[in-house]
Symmetry: C3
Subunit: 254 residues, 3 copies
């Protein structure tokens, strides 16, 4: 890529849509006066290459980026990424469901850290509580066989050591949260897998990758999520997840 | 729980003590304009069910919640949770000791992120430096046998690869911090176990769970801590900790 | 250390350089009204003992401390630690390279959280974009044999599960970032190892420790990094890293 150096300025200048200011943050860098090289890599490598790759749609990349920032409590550029998500076709209802889903998978604490920023972006788009789903929704139908397998797996993991956790996992997590219609199961899996990779929680990754593939995520997309997150949450998170993706895909092709 | 939807509004309205404003944060949600469903789950499932469960006292739940927020650097609702902790019988001296203990177990960096919020809450309650313990305290008596076992375990783990770490672990960590009288050993263990689960540090969890059980935490309480933290720091942190609790309880009953 | 209690006040008073105010933060505590004991431990044990130990120079300790704070998103005392780093001989160019390096190893999200603070410190020292390296630098020469081994190792880990990740790891990560001349390979390794320990990413630690030792970090320094980080990012991060350091040093001496 060393020969691309002259391109850096050109790209930066020619990408007003990508580099647009959003309050004090941009979807690109903000590194111009801190690390000009990083500013260039953000524009050339991340925006100009990674985001353009065919393996994952811009909408999916926005779901992954926003979910990673919420899961890790990275508030700095979240507003700009929420704007990009809306521009990429993620709806306000889906963002609302992502926040709820991540409150369970990354913790209420992370949801509390990021909710005010989501609220501001919603307000700027005239989205209010009345536009967002509460508890009164038409839940998707639960797959009884898959649910029975899950309950058995939880029993094997926990025994009777944490009965409240087993209970809350059944209700509301799998009997309500996963069945809410505002976010498709495939996207809900994408959010879950993103959170696990972003937080380095590899112990739960294989199980949720299998669920994601059953819910319609492709193997190619899973691999591209890993590359995308290497940039946003660090190379080691990508390299901890990559081998798990390889093993899951391998075991399913056998 | 689907039938409970109508209860959501009622509970929200009838729980002024829980939902009271504290500056810009509340112990409940703050999700009304972001994710009405999450607001309802916070009020119904977390406040209305989890916090009411008998397996762990409200005082213990406050110690766990505050410790998790400090360990994870979740500052958003920390002030409200510190107020709830004081209301639930956790003293200012105990909170001060929790901060010091977590500076060692979750790092000085996390203590620095959260100290200003603790300071503001203390100021609002007229708690000043003079009310809080320094180094001049009557240390608890160290159990010589348990300490010898610990030193041997550290030597096995580190060899001579990190002599300063071995030294600081002996003094001040185990010869002073763990023996400070402002927080009972059982509560100090509760804080330690909480931090390990909240940060996904399962490698050290079995050892500290055994110490916690020796210090008076019950197995039932340990399981309920896991369920409580699943909500506050994410389901995967609960499911990484649950099997460790199961194994430790099993090995002690054999 | 119990006999050192009277020394606490003396040290605090006699260390104006260490305890100097920097905006609202100090390199020491800020715990006086929250946890007087922790304030004393910060001054006596961390500043008065740890930072004075011969196993790691003050410059290295500053690189480790600043890198840990950036990697963990600990913004509270980062400005003060950047000032100390500059005073300890870390240059603005090196700090800029540390930010870029950590954008890859701890994620763009963490770099975005901390960049505004670096920018403010740079501005106070009249460091602007023109003083900092962009893409147009004289790259160090890559070691072909070591690079071939790395490529093979990545192929073994990822198979063809994440082709974009394998590609970006080759270019730009190892063909550009690691070869940028603004930060010596030994210091770049120090930053990488620090980030891995600080974030508990032990799976990648052995590989990068071996690279660090090849790049000139000594085994004694590695052990002292572990002790230093135990204080800044928590005891469990030290105790997860310590055994890996022991094993790597052992395998290299065989």
């Amino acid at each position: 890529m060393k020969t691309l150096a002259p391109l850096a300025l050109a790209l930066t200048v020619s990408m007003p849509a990508f580099a647009q200011e959003n309050g004090s943050s941009t979807v690109g860098g903000g590194f111009a006066n801190v690390a000009p090289a990083l500013e260039a890599y953000t524009n050339i490598t991340i925006i100009g290459d990674l985001w353009q790759r065919k393996g994952l749609t811009p909408r999916d990349r926005s779901i992954v980026t926003v979910s990673a920032m919420i899961a890790r409590g990275h508030t700095a550029n979240l507003a700009a990424e929420l704007e990009r998500a809306l521009a990429n076709g993620v709806t306000a209802v889906e963002i609302s469901e992502i926040v709820t889903h991540l409150a369970f998978y990354a913790g209420l604490g992370t949801a509390q850290m990021t909710a005010p920023i989501v609220e501001d972006v919603f307000a700027a788009h005239n989205v209010s509580a009345a536009d967002l789903p509460g508890l009164d929704v038409d839940y998707l139908k639960q797959d009884a066989e898959s649910e029975a397998t899950r309950v058995q797996s939880v029993a094997g993991l926990l025994g009777d050591a944490a009965p409240s956790l087993a209970e809350f996992t059944t209700d509301p997590l799998f009997s309500e949260i996963w069945l809410r219609p505002g976010l498709a199961p495939r996207d809900r899996s994408l959010v879950t897998v993103t959170s696990l990779i972003a937080l380095g929680q590899t112990a739960q990754l294989a199980g949720h990758l299998n669920r994601a593939l059953q819910n319609g995520l492709t193997g190619e997309e899973a691999g591209e999520v890993v590359a995308h997150l290497a940039f946003y949450t660090g190379w080691p998170t990508g390299f901890s997840a990559g081998p798990v993706v390889r093993e899951v895909l391998q075991s399913r092709s056998e």
